[in-house]
C-alpha cells in the first residue's frame, strides 16, 4: 500500500463522528418541531386543487361565485368579532430578515432617552453602519464623557467629550454592536423562541408576547408587521434614518486621533495609557477567574481587586470579586460588591446577582434582606425550569469559564443546577431525576411553580440535599 493509499484508508476507517444519544434526540426533536411548525404555517395545497376542479364547471362557477359573495358578506359582518389569524414565530424571523434599518431607544424613568442606536444591517445579517448616542460602555469607562460612537462602514469614530477628541479606529479593530451576530440571534428565535401570549394587550394595542432566549428578553410583536416593537425595555422601529446619521463629523475644537493601521501621527499618551490599562485588566480578569475556578480564592480576590481599582466599570470583575470574597467568608464585602453590580446595572435585570447577594445576606443572618433579593429572582429561577435559556446567565455567573467558551452547559445541567439553587433557598425538595425523560419530571417542575404561586416560603438551607449534575458535554464537570 502506497503512503497515499494508507492516508486514504486511515481517513476512511478512522474519521468518524456521531451524535451522542441525548444530542441525537435533541437535534431530532428540533427537526421535527420545524416540520410541524412549517406544516402549521403553509397553505394546504390540495385545497387549491379542489377549487380548480370545481371552477371548471360553468354551473359550479356560478354557484361558487354566489357562495363567495355570501361568505364575503358574512365575513364583513363578523370582522370585528374575528380573532387574528394564528401567529407563528417563523413569521417574525422572516420579517426580521428583511429589516435593513433598526432604531432602538431606551428611556429612563422620566421618559428621557438614555440610550439610542441606529443600525444598518446587511443582507448577510451583519451590521454595516451604526450610531449610538450616549453609549453607556464608553460613559461608564470614562466618566464625564457624554459621548457618541459612529461607524460609517469603514471606520469607527469614538467621540470622547472628556478629552475633546474623536478617535478613529479601523472598523475591524473596534466595533460597537447591539447584537454581535444578528443572523444567529434570528435563528435562535426561530428554533427556541416561545410564544408566551397571543393577541395580548400592550400599551393600548394588540401584540404577541414572545420570549427570545438569545437576548434573554420578552418582546412584543406587532401582529400586522410581525416585527418586535419592544425588546425588554427598548423600543424598536425600522425606518431608514437620514443619511447624516451615519456620517462622521468633527465638532469644532476637537482633536482627531487616527488610531487606524498605517496612521503616521503617534497616539497621544493618554490613549496609550488607556490601551495598556485595558490589556492589563483583561489579563488580570482571566487569571483571577482561573484562580476562582481553581478554588484559590485569595489569589482570585487579589487579582480582581486590581482590575476594579483601575477599571471600576467592569461589572463582571466586581461580581466575581464578590464571589471570591463569599468563598473566603468575607460576606460583608461580598454584599458590598454585589450591591455595586446591581447599582451599576440598575436598568437591567441581574437575577443572578440578587441570588448571590441573598446567600451572602443569609450568611450574615440578614434574613429580611435575603428574602427581599430572593423575591426578585425566584420567578426567573422557576421559569428557567421550563425555559432553561433563562437560567444560562446563572451558569455564566457561577462559572466564568462559560465566558471564554470553555464550558457550554447543557439544558439538563442548567435545570438540575437551578433546582439545586431552589432547594437551597427554600429547603424544599419536590423530587427530580436529571436522567429521566421530561414527562417524568413534569410533576416536580409543576410543584415548584405551585410552590412559588401559593407558598414561596423562604428557608435558606445551605446543606440542602442536592442533585448530582448530569454530564452534558464533558467539559463542565
Amino acid at each position: 500500500m502506497t503512503p497515499e493509499e494508507k492516508v486514504k484508508s486511515i481517513l476512511q476507517d478512522k474519521l468518524h463522528f456521531s451524535a451522542g444519544s441525548k444530542l441525537r434526540r435533541r437535534m431530532l426533536a428540533r427537526v421535527l418541531d420545524a416540520q410541524r411548525e412549517s406544516q402549521k404555517t403553509k397553505p394546504d395545497s390540495p385545497r387549491g386543487a379542489v377549487r380548480r376542479t370545481i371552477t371548471n364547471s360553468r354551473t359550479a362557477k356560478l354557484a361558487s361565485i354566489a357562495a363567495l359573495v355570501a361568505i364575503a358578506a358574512l365575513a364583513i359582518s363578523l370582522v370585528p368579532k374575528l380573532t387574528s389569524p394564528a401567529y407563528a414565530i417563523e413569521q417574525t424571523v422572516e420579517a426580521l430578515q428583511n429589516v435593513r434599518f433598526l432604531h432602538l431607544v431606551q428611556r429612563d424613568d422620566t421618559g428621557q432617552i438614555r440610550d439610542e442606536r441606529w443600525i444598518e444591517i446587511g443582507m448577510d445579517g451583519f451590521q454595516i453602519r451604526y450610531r449610538q448616542q450616549k453609549p453607556h460602555a464608553v460613559i461608564a469607562k470614562y466618566p464625564g464623557a457624554p459621548s457618541m460612537v459612529i461607524e460609517d462602514g469603514q471606520s469607527t469614530a469614538v467621540y470622547r467629550d472628556d478629552k475633546k477628541a474623536v478617535i478613529l479606529y479601523d472598523r475591524e479593530d473596534q466595533q460597537y454592536q447591539w447584537v454581535g451576530e444578528l443572523g444567529k440571534a434570528f435563528e435562535n428565535l426561530r428554533q427556541e423562541g416561545k410564544i408566551l401570549e397571543e393577541n395580548t394587550e400592550y400599551q393600548g394595542r394588540l401584540a404577541h408576547k414572545v420570549w427570545w432566549p438569545y437576548l434573554s428578553v420578552e418582546c412584543y410583536v406587532d401582529p400586522e408587521t410581525k416585527l418586535p416593537v419592544t425588546l425588554g425595555d427598548a423600543e424598536l422601529s425600522y425606518e431608514e434614518p437620514s443619511p447624516e446619521i451615519f456620517e462622521v463629523v468633527y465638532p469644532e475644537g476637537y482633536a482627531i486621533v487616527d488610531a487606524r493601521p498605517g496612521a503616521t501621527e503617534p497616539l497621544p499618551d493618554w490613549l496609550l495609557e488607556e490601551k495598556s490599562a485595558d490589556a492589563k485588566a483583561s489579563d488580570a480578569i482571566k487569571q483571577g477567574t482561573d484562580a476562582l475556578m481553581d478554588g484559590d480564592y485569595a489569589t482570585a480576590a487579589e487579582l480582581l481587586a486590581t482590575v476594579v481599582e483601575t477599571q471600576p466599570n467592569r461589572n463582571w470583575a466586581w461580581f466575581w470579586l464578590g464571589s471570591a470574597q463569599y468563598e473566603l467568608g468575607q460576606y460583608d464585602l461580598a454584599v458590598e460588591n454585589y450591591t455595586r453590580v446591581l447599582n451599576m446595572l440598575e436598568r437591567y435585570p441581574c437575577y443572578y446577582c440578587n441570588y448571590a447577594r441573598a446567600l451572602a445576606y443569609a450568611q450574615l443572618d440578614a434574613d429580611e434582606a435575603a428574602e427581599e433579593d430572593l423575591r426578585i429572582c425566584l420567578p426567573e429561577m422557576v421559569r428557567a425550569l421550563r425555559l432553561p435559556s433563562a437560567g444560562f446567565i446563572f451558569e455564566y455567573a457561577d462559572d466564568p469559564m462559560v465566558r471564554y467558551g470553555q464550558v457550554k452547559p447543557s439544558e439538563p445541567e442548567i435545570i438540575a443546577r437551578m433546582i439545586n439553587r431552589l432547594r437551597i433557598v427554600s429547603g424544599r425538595n419536590f423530587g427530580y431525576d436529571p436522567n429521566a425523560e421530561a414527562e417524568a419530571n413534569e410533576a416536580a417542575i409543576a410543584a415548584w411553580e405551585e410552590w412559588l404561586e401559593t407558598d414561596g416560603r423562604i428557608d435558606i438551607t445551605l446543606d440542602a440535599e442536592l442533585l448530582s449534575i448530569p454530564v452534558g458535554n464533558g467539559q463542565s464537570q
Binding site: 494508507k6 463522528f17 427537526v31 412549517s38 460602555a137 454581535g180 451576530e181 427598548a234 463582571w316 439538563p412
Partner: protein, 180 residues
C-alpha cells in the same frame, strides 16, 4: 437508493417518520463531514442542525430529482463555507457592552468520537479549505470528481489537483503513522 426515493416521497407528503428516518440515516455522516471541515464540534453540530431544520421546513414544497445524500452533503458544505466566510469577516467585538446582548448558548450534548478521529480532524485543519473539502467529499462522502467539481464550481482537473495535493499534505501531517 430505493429507500431514499420512498423517504423523499413520504417526506414530501408530510411524514414525520420519513423525516426521522432520513435524519437517523444521515446525521452521523453529515456530522463527520462537518467536523472534518471545521474541527469544531459545536460549529459542526450547528451546521448539521441547521441543514436538517431547513430541510424539515421545505416540507410539501420539496422537490428533488437527484440523490438525497448528495443534496444534504451539499447543504452541509455550503453551511460550512458560510461559517468560514463569516469567521473571516467577524470583527473584534467590544466585550464591555453588557446591555441587551447576552452570551449565546451552545449545543446541548456531545459528539462521540475516538481519539484517532480528533487527531485526524486536527490534521485536516492544516490543509487549505478547498483541499480539505475535496478530500472529505471524495473519501468520506464517496463523491465523484465530477460531482465535487460541480459543487466547487471549478474544473475536474482543479479538483484532482486539490485532491492530490491534499493527500500529500495530509500524509506529511500524519507522517509517523503512515510510514510505519
Amino acid at each position: 437508493m430505493l429507500e431514499d426515493e420512498i423517504l423523499k416521497w413520504k417526506f414530501k407528503g408530510g411524514s414525520s417518520e420519513a423525516l426521522a428516518r432520513i435524519y437517523e440515516k444521515y446525521v452521523d455522516t453529515l456530522l463527520t463531514l462537518a467536523m472534518g471541515l471545521l474541527n469544531d464540534p459545536y460549529e459542526a453540530e450547528d451546521v448539521v442542525q441547521d441543514v436538517f431544520t431547513r430541510f424539515a421546513r421545505s416540507g410539501n414544497g420539496f422537490t428533488l430529482r437527484g440523490s438525497l445524500k448528495a443534496y444534504l452533503t451539499t447543504a452541509v458544505v455550503n453551511g460550512v463555507r458560510d461559517r468560514v466566510r463569516r469567521d473571516k469577516r467577524r470583527p473584534a467585538r467590544s466585550d464591555q457592552d453588557v446591555s441587551l446582548a447576552s452570551a449565546s448558548r451552545g449545543p446541548d450534548e456531545e459528539l462521540v468520537f475516538a481519539e484517532d478521529a480528533a487527531r485526524l480532524s486536527s490534521a485536516l485543519m492544516e490543509l487549505p479549505h478547498e483541499q480539505r473539502e475535496t478530500l472529505m467529499l471524495k473519501l468520506k462522502s464517496n463523491m465523484k470528481f465530477r460531482e465535487i467539481a460541480k459543487i466547487q464550481g471549478v474544473s475536474i482537473n482543479t479538483v484532482q489537483g486539490r485532491y492530490r495535493y491534499g493527500l500529500q499534505k495530509l500524509r506529511a501531517q500524519l507522517n509517523g503513522e503512515v510510514e510505519q
